[in-house]
């Protein structure tokens, strides 16, 4: 089962975990990740973070990433929830979760989801700081994290 949700509304991480558990069937291992807006960026206070995305392509890209993770790691359930719009520090941005029969597959599944989400899904972050607005730059460490899955 694949669940993809993109929108402005906050999500209930606990409910997402329970949903994964319910969908997991025989899978005894559920791994998940939550990303939260940090209070600082570039050495100064972050006032807000606005997430822009490409409606239509976003859902398609997330669905593809989820499908790839499912077949690669034999996952029985995958969830990706990603928020868009203006978020303040402490707000949840993303939930990624995977259920599998084996804990290693569940962990690797979620890491794969996050690595590809960060390099393939059409989201962009605009930081509102005291010094002004700054578009977050893509990080080479994220590209490298995604590239490690290609080499295997």
């Amino acid at each position: 089962m694949i669940r993809i949700a993109v929108g402005e509304a906050d999500f209930d991480a606990g409910a997402e975990v329970r949903r994964l558990q319910a969908a997991a069937g025989d899978a005894g291992a559920i791994a998940s990740f939550i990303g939260v807006v940090r209070p600082q960026s570039g050495g100064e206070a972050l006032l807000s973070m606005t997430l822009e995305h490409y409606p239509g392509m976003t859902e398609r890209a997330l669905e593809e990433i989820a499908q790839a993770a499912c077949s690669r790691f034999a996952l029985s359930a995958v969830t990706i929830v990603h928020r868009v719009g203006r978020l303040v520090p402490g707000a949840q941005i993303v939930f990624a979760g995977a259920a599998s029969g084996h804990r290693q597959a569940a962990f690797e599944g979620v890491q794969f989801l996050m690595d590809y989400l960060k390099t393939q899904a059409p989201f962009w972050k605009l930081e509102e700081r005291v010094s002004g607005d700054h578009w977050v730059e893509a990080r080479s460490s994220d590209d490298e994290a995604a590239a490690r899955w290609e080499r295997r």
Binding site: E52, M57, H82, V94, K118, P122, W124, L126, R139, D142
Partner: protein
């Protein structure tokens, strides 16, 4: 051909989308970027350093040699930073 822009590419171009009819010589994403760079100051600024721009054709990531045709939806944006 429908063009859509995101993040600072959108801000520099000045619109979030536009419909264009490029000349027949524009066959690829790269051709389209060159042609767009000549459409005005904002476009010129947005496409000044192409290494900073990524593209999608019909909502699928596409490199500079990917083909474009009338009726396509072509998107230009910076490298993605979600998650």
């Amino acid at each position: 051909m429908k063009l859509v822009y995101f993040a600072w590419v959108r801000q520099q171009v000045g619109v979030s989308q536009e419909t264009v009819t490029p000349p027949d010589a524009v066959q690829t994403v790269g051709d389209l970027m060159s042609w767009l760079a000549g459409r005005g100051e904002g476009h010129a600024r947005a496409f000044a350093d192409r290494s900073r721009i990524r593209a999608a054709v019909n909502q699928v990531h596409a490199g500079p040699t990917a083909r474009v045709a009338a009726g396509d939806e072509v998107a230009f944006f910076p490298p993605v930073t979600g998650g």
